[in-house]
Symmetry: C2
Subunit: 366 residues, 2 copies
């Protein structure tokens, strides 16, 4: 679907939509149509939709915009299990004017504890932005963003929500309740290099990267209509079919988790007991360093990982697991398993068998 939409747009609508001629006007119409459709999926007005290159760009420009437009003493309260790009962007933009939200052992941000942070004498009235993702990339843990939006709204605080992991896996409906929403198309089947953000409903003057007057001045740069068309096609397909299969996918995953715990006693699922995306299982294995599991599973054709892709092999222990209170020794035994819409119960079973074999090999010191 996404691929066909991209190719069709490359053939029929490749001209620069900001040109002064009729072919450009036709592309402009399609682009605005995509904006309306995307907004509608999330319950957001179309003029809040800004097309960007991905969630990393979105995080950077939203953080800079908020720091620039809020009072100079405004603080941000941030979930410490956010994606590294969100953490880095808000750290750079707000410096020391940041407070971390408390995370439960299972990775949850509880709206009541957010409320408590906002009512602390030292942050009362100062915190103007709350940053909590919709779902976590390492553990799949789903955050209660509707309740969080309610807490924020009642206090006039802006909620920034990174929905990169949520979209395409769970229904988009209602996400527009966040003031600022960030998303990457390639996380739900679009090509890499295209994404979008929802800007704050009142932030008419918002601009990210500077340039021409494209996108009402919200984002300079030639609009990538083929990328946008592919992104919309991918999300529409996910919304119309895929997300409806969620409960079956969750059931398969749960069955896998139960079997894994039976086959490898001592294996502990991270975020056990709370709502998690169906496609991600982070698990602490009973023995052996995760790197050794990854290498041996890779040889068997299973691409499992030790953390988020952007972190793997490039930095220290996972900040997500650390925020959940998992000690370093246990962290080194965590692997992340990801599935797709096409993953069947029998695929999960093959994965389990391979893990049992690898575990036995490692135990033997083979």
């Amino acid at each position: 679907m996404a691929r066909e939409a991209w190719l069709r747009a490359q053939d029929e609508a490749w001209v620069n939509p900001s040109g002064p001629y009729r072919d450009a006007a036709r592309v402009r119409l399609r682009l605005e149509g995509a904006r309306i459709a995307l907004g509608a999926l999330m319950g957001a007005a179309p003029d809040r939709v800004v097309f960007v290159s991905g969630a990393t760009e979105a995080a950077n420009v939203v953080a800079v915009h908020l720091a620039r437009t809020l009072p100079a003493d405004a603080w941000v309260a941030i979930n410490p299990t956010e994606h590294p790009c969100v953490i880095a962007a808000f750290a750079a933009a707000f410096g020391g004017r940041r407070v971390e939200l408390p995370v439960s052992e299972s990775g949850l941000i509880d709206p009541d504890s957010v409320q408590a942070v906002l009512e602390r004498p030292e942050s009362e009235g100062k915190v103007r932005v709350v940053v909590v993702m919709a779902a976590n990339n390492e553990t799949g843990v789903v955050q209660p963003w509707t309740a969080l939006a309610r807490v924020c709204r009642s206090r006039g605080i802006e909620l920034v929500c990174d929905a990169s992991q949520w979209l395409g896996k769970l229904p988009a409906a209602g996400l527009g309740v966040a003031d600022w929403l960030l998303a990457s198309g390639h996380k739900f089947g679009a090509p890499k290099g295209v994404g979008f953000l929802l800007r704050g409903p009142q932030a008419d003057g918002f601009h990210g990267q500077l340039g021409g007057e494209q996108q009402r001045g919200h984002r300079g740069g030639t609009e990538d209509y083929p990328g946008v068309a592919a992104m919309l096609a991918a999300l529409a397909e996910a919304e119309q079919s895929k997300v409806l299969w969620e409960s079956a996918r969750v059931a398969d995953r749960d069955e896998f988790e139960r079997s894994l715990q039976r086959a490898l006693p001592g294996a502990v699922v991270v975020g056990r007991g709370v709502e998690r995306l169906w496609n991600t299982v982070a698990v602490t294995l009973p023995r052996h360093e995760n790197q050794r599991w990854v290498a041996r599973m890779d040889k068997r054709g299973f691409a499992i990982s030790t953390g988020s892709a952007c972190a793997s092999g490039k930095e220290g222990p996972s900040h997500v697991l650390a925020a959940m209170g998992i000690e370093p020794e246990r962290m080194r035994r965590v692997v992340r398993l990801s599935s797709g819409w096409d993953t069947s119960a029998s695929d999960w079973n093959d994965l389990l068998q391979a893990m049992v074999e690898v575990g036995a090999e490692l135990d033997r010191g083979a």
Copy 2:
């Protein structure tokens, strides 16, 4: 070429290149291969190549980086005919610490006058950055960037060069002499949404958008390998075949310009007499507002324009033409004609005939 490269990469190398498994390592190798090849085309070390979403992102992050890392009293000397995104990015980053370089009537930035600006008592020692594009998007005027690089280097000043219009039309060789180079892939046949920059040879600590440790920390965000593959294929194709046809394209254009001046006496080519890209002709027509020409030519199937696409219909008179000293009344009669590699002498002739007919219609008040 670019399309095939994109599709092949989507099929064979779609995984996230920062993953910990073997398939990811294969994509990483291809990505680093593309970095080496792109750098080599411009004579730049591969570690200077940073993949981004396009020249607008590049302009924004380079301006912010220079303002952040240079002394707080460093000035920038900028060519006023730069693309709006370059002007906006440096205006935001340097504020009032900017001086405009003088532009000749034909649109040239003369290295001697740059030298003179740098030696003015008020700018002596203060200007640390010079910003001059390789070729202009509205007039096609080519700037003497090799000589400008020499002037800058001798004084330890950083040269920022936007090569968006140059690449794919004239040889890339030597462009690495600029400290900072900006480019958009879609200007030379790649899909929209991908581009690159060359970072300063000494700027090991450069970072643009923050995120993970992708691209040695120079740019957070999942690398768009399919976009990069398409961009390299498009540029390699241009370098290996297209740019060799340049003199024939220039000859066709020159013949068109002579015929146009005969057929519409009083028509004046903007930037006449200086080196210009073969694909762009900006011309002041003798009579009637440019918008009327554009509308009537559009009906005949010719997509001509009034200025740059990002400006058309959205802002006032062209800042490029104004910097060249063209008065507002004349500016309203300027149209821009663009050609492609496939444009033949007979296509130019068809364009001329259509312009003659439209001119006659407008004269009749039809």
